[in-house]
């Protein structure tokens, strides 16, 4: 892999808690030699956060889809009726 991808791997492992102590030392040294790497680490963190938000949004959409299937499709009529019975006042 090219250098930028190797640095990315180093940062990724560090942020995920998967880096060895030696790798963490190496990263510290690289940050001292190349201050721009600090910037990369910041944006890397933001990216992981966005990936998490994106993924959760996808999961919630799938859950909503399952709910809609259960509450609209004829094959789930008895399930639907059993649920609605709880909310009859």
């Amino acid at each position: 892999m090219r250098t930028s991808l190797n640095n990315l791997k180093l940062v990724d492992n560090h942020l995920l808690g998967l880096a060895t102590p030696q790798d963490n030392l190496l990263l510290q040294a690289k940050v001292i030699l190349d201050p721009a790497l600090t910037d990369d680490i910041y944006w890397h963190k933001q990216t992981l956060s966005l990936v998490h938000q994106y993924s959760r949004k996808q999961l919630l959409a799938e859950i909503e889809n399952v709910h809609n299937q259960l509450f609209t499709r004829p094959e789930h009529l008895s399930f639907r009726q059993s649920i609605l019975r709880f909310f009859k006042r």
Binding site: Q46, L60, L70
Partner: protein, 173 residues
């Protein structure tokens, strides 16, 4: 398009087995069907995230989901007993990065222009699928090529996030 059939099947099974007990509980305490749906769906997200990270202690998924849903319902009832969406305050995902990042424009951009990369990164970081499975789902020859692709995607998305973030005045809040 990434196959999500297995996950959908799992969600369907969990919904059918565990939602009735949650609905009954919420109804008994005066909640509506929408309340039951909200707490159950949030409970499912928590359940899923714990399961994929290997932090799941419980073996009875139905009892576990009911337990989380009861907790969420209690919290909702205590905090506001209103219609405020649960995701924002109950799903505890906020970290330092979330405080600065707005999902609107950048997320929309990534959902369209960078969807394939986002799906690949999601498969790795969120769904925690084995590299072999990710390679199969995304059509890569093997684990080596999908690993390289993952880092290329990460670099591309990171640079996009940086670029887009700095372009949008309303991005940094």
């Amino acid at each position: 398009m990434v196959k999500t059939v297995k996950r959908e099947q799992l969600l369907m099974e969990l919904y059918k087995s565990a939602f009735p007990a949650v609905a009954k509980y919420v109804a008994r305490l005066g909640g509506s069907l929408d309340d039951a749906k909200d707490v159950f769906q949030d409970a499912l997200v928590i359940y899923y995230e714990k399961a994929v990270t290997g932090n799941m202690v419980a073996t009875d998924s139905k009892a576990y989901l009911l337990g989380i849903a009861k907790h969420l319902w209690f919290k909702k009832f205590r905090d506001n007993n209103s219609t405020q969406p649960l995701q924002h305050d109950l799903l505890n995902i906020a970290d330092e990065a979330d405080e600065h990042i707005s999902t609107n424009k950048v997320m929309h951009y990534l959902e369209t222009a960078g969807k394939r990369c986002m799906d690949l990164l999601s498969a790795f970081y969120y769904r925690k699928l084995p590299m072999k499975d990710i390679a199969g789902q995304f059509g890569y020859a093997g684990e080596r090529s999908v690993t390289v692709q993952k880092y290329k995607c990460l670099e591309k998305v990171r640079d996009t996030v940086k670029q887009q973030s700095l372009s949008y005045a309303d991005f940094i809040e």
